[in-house]
């Protein structure tokens, strides 16, 4: 009995921690109506500012996360899947009870710039404040003005579906210390105006790096791997490296290719697929030409990458690729060509295509399984589509044909195995 006497210490500590947590959470609940700075209040009503904000909100693709499937735009409700659980995107229409109707600009600024919620709580970085912190105050005012001009939708926010301990917001304090540094984009005077605009859009509102970089164990991004490609957790697509230089994911892409894929969804070097097709449809196709050129200028300057380590084949993939070769001739060559060159503007090439040769094989596998349409854009309103092969090819056949296209022509990527195909066959599509 006596030996167990010390047990009360951790128990008491636990009670103290829980009580502190409860007190903090209650403190966060105190909702006050924030008074608006009169100068900003006038700006928020300016139609020119609202129009600018609408364009910027489109550039940031806010609507994609803040709209549930089939729901009212910006009324929230979409559950964003993360390895730690689901995080619902909130209602950002100007409803007083469930949206941002009682917010003042400074509340919005703190969220965008510092990742701090209206009640002082740290926000989960599923809201990409890690990128949005680079947005200027003037641009943030315009976006806020636009959001405040939206039709009011009363839609209560869904609750967090994070697992313990990730559902304890205070764990974010440590995360922020490691992975987050607040700061508006600082122009590089040695670069052109266009380059700086591109960098601002890519690193800030465009929040490209949130997908196009590998995340660590705690879901954070390291500055030194910016835009070098990464697997999108839960959604299971691979967002390729964006360097156009030696060993880059977009090696050999021209300025026009970058502009084409963002504007039309398709370029001579490849097409936007998976989540990027959505980004093109909702966001980049609406960008002005000078902004698209600016983005291209910036991406073209991303440095060359280290040569990939030789693929250490754990098994001899030649028989698999040989089998894939005959499936390719039978199923794929009619459209993509025996030489994998595709048909310009119609069917993307597979030779040298970043989505085919990305490190994981996820993209090629899922495209073979799902087929489908590329983005439907003003520049490509009736795109050609690809048949889904999930119903026609076995896991082994898909592994074979994907291995073949990843190793044919100039492609030198790793093989894909049957068990990988089995996994991706059942990946949720939303």
């Amino acid at each position: 009995m006596k030996r167990l006497g010390w047990l009360w210490i951790p128990l008491v500590l636990l009670v103290i921690v829980l009580a502190a947590g409860w007190w903090l959470s209650q403190r966060h609940r105190q909702v006050l109506i924030s008074p608006e700075d009169p100068a900003i209040a006038a700006t928020l009503k300016d139609p020119g500012v609202i129009a600018k904000g609408r364009y910027l909100a489109t550039a940031g693709d806010c609507v994609s996360c803040h709209t549930a499937r089939g729901g009212e735009p910006y009324a929230g409700g979409r559950m964003l899947p993360t390895p730690f659980g689901g995080i619902p995107a909130p209602n950002i229409t100007p409803d007083r009870d469930t949206g941002i109707g009682q917010w003042a600009f400074n509340d919005f600024w703190r969220a965008m710039h510092e990742g701090i919620g209206r009640n002082g709580e740290p926000l989960y970085p599923a809201f990409s404040y890690t990128s949005f912190t680079k947005v200027t105050r003037d641009d943030a005012i315009a976006i806020f003005a636009y959001l405040r001009s939206l039709p009011i939708v009363h839609q209560p926010n869904a609750s967090l579906a994070l697992r313990f301990p990730y559902n304890v917001r205070s764990t974010l304090t440590a995360w922020r210390a490691v992975y987050f540094k607040a700061g508006v984009y600082q122009a590089d005077p040695s670069q052109s105006v266009s380059w700086n605009r591109g960098a601002y859009l890519v690193q800030g509102l465009g929040h490209c790096n949130e997908c196009h970089a590998a995340r660590g164990a705690w879901g954070g991004l390291n500055a030194d791997t910016a835009l070098s490609g990464g697997r999108i957790p839960e959604q299971d697509w691979y967002a390729p490296d964006l360097s156009t230089q030696a060993n880059g994911g977009l090696q050999g892409w021209s300025r026009q290719d970058i502009i084409d894929v963002l504007k039309n969804g398709q370029a001579s070097k490849g097409a936007a697929i998976g989540p990027m097709a959505d980004v093109v449809a909702h966001s980049t196709q609406h960008l002005h030409d000078d902004d698209l050129q600016a983005i291209a200028d910036y991406l073209l300057s991303l440095p060359a990458r280290a040569a990939p380590k030789a693929v250490s084949a754990s098994f001899d993939s030649k028989p698999l690729a040989d089998r894939g070769s005959s499936i390719y001739v039978e199923r794929c060559a009619d459209c993509h060509g025996k030489d994998g060159a595709g048909v310009p503007g119609v069917y993307p090439p597979l030779d040298g295509n970043a989505s085919v040769t990305e490190p994981t094989g996820i993209n090629a596998t899922r495209v073979v399984l799902l087929g489908g349409f590329p983005s439907v854009t003003a520049g490509n309103p009736r795109p050609y589509s690809m048949p889904p092969y999930a119903q026609q090819l076995s896991d082994a056949d898909v592994a074979a044909v994907v291995t073949y296209i990843r190793q044919a022509w100039s492609n030198r990527a790793s093989a894909v195995q049957e068990r990988d195909v089995a996994t991706y066959r059942h990946t949720p599509i939303d």
């Binding site: 449809a281 459209c335 993509h336 310009p344 799902l370 009736r382 050609y384 589509s385 048949p387 939303d430």
Partner: protein, 239 residues
């Protein structure tokens, strides 16, 4: 036609140049070629998958119905992952064009296999289709889907020539909420009033029925829906 041709010709010219290039494939500039993602499962003319296949016939169904189904998949009212993925990025214009294409197709129906059921079960199926079951407040299918069960313009689909597996799984989906339509969702109500054996009976009877000579949907406005239906109200069909 001539104006259309004027648009197509320059592209056809471009295509000609493309063809001259090495062994590049020739790509017909047709909608049929563009919608390979649809026709792989539903057939080039929307005839549905052959054999006992699950994929439903699209040919000849009212275009309004086909558009609203694509929208329902986009909005998550109907759940079937391959369809949800395929249509997710389609614009209203493109969806209309695709729907018009399938709606205009006239292809022969193929008889699908039907499970062997007792005559009493098939009789029950026929009764539900033609007379309904007033004791359970189930209206006859014919009341909306047409006297000949070929559908009603612009938004009620025909039920003839559909595979047993497809019909029974749709009725099941309405009960489990993986298929829904605009509220008030009258088909969900009806599916929930059916007993499980009724679903088998009605699906089998419908799938075993001969297809009438004229498979065109009934004209719009030719039905008086027995229930309030969101689909019929929004599209102005049936009333």
């Amino acid at each position: 036609m001539s104006t259309r041709l004027r648009w197509v010709l320059p592209f056809a010219g471009l295509l000609g140049c493309a063809v001259a290039h090495a062994d590049q494939p020739t790509v017909p500039n047709t909608l049929q070629q563009r919608i390979a993602a649809c026709t792989t499962c539903h057939g080039v003319h929307g005839e549905g998958s052959s054999g006992s296949g699950f994929f439903p016939r699209l040919a000849g169904k009212p275009a309004g119905y086909l558009v609203s189904q694509m929208q329902n998949f986009q909005h998550g009212l109907r759940n079937y992952a391959p369809m949800e993925y395929t249509v997710r990025l389609l614009t209203p214009d493109y969806m209309h064009e695709i729907a018009e294409y399938f709606s205009a197709q006239q292809v022969p129906y193929e008889r699908k296999p039907v499970p062997n059921l007792a005559p009493s079960s098939l009789q029950r199926g026929e009764q539900l289709v033609t007379a309904g079951d007033p004791s359970r407040k189930i209206p006859p299918c014919q009341a909306c889907h047409g006297k000949q069960l070929t559908g009603t313009e612009p938004s009620v689909p025909g039920l003839v020539g559909l595979p047993y597996d497809y019909i029974s799984s749709q009725l099941g989906s309405w009960r489990t909420g993986t298929r829904a339509s605009a509220v008030p969702d009258c088909m969900a109500e009806i599916a929930n009033r059916l007993a499980p054996v009724d679903i088998t009976a009605v699906s089998a009877w419908l799938a075993s029925r001969d297809v009438p000579a004229d498979t065109h949907p009934q004209p719009a406005g030719s039905i008086a829906p027995p229930l309030r239906c969101g689909v019929l109200q929004t599209s102005g069909g049936g009333t």
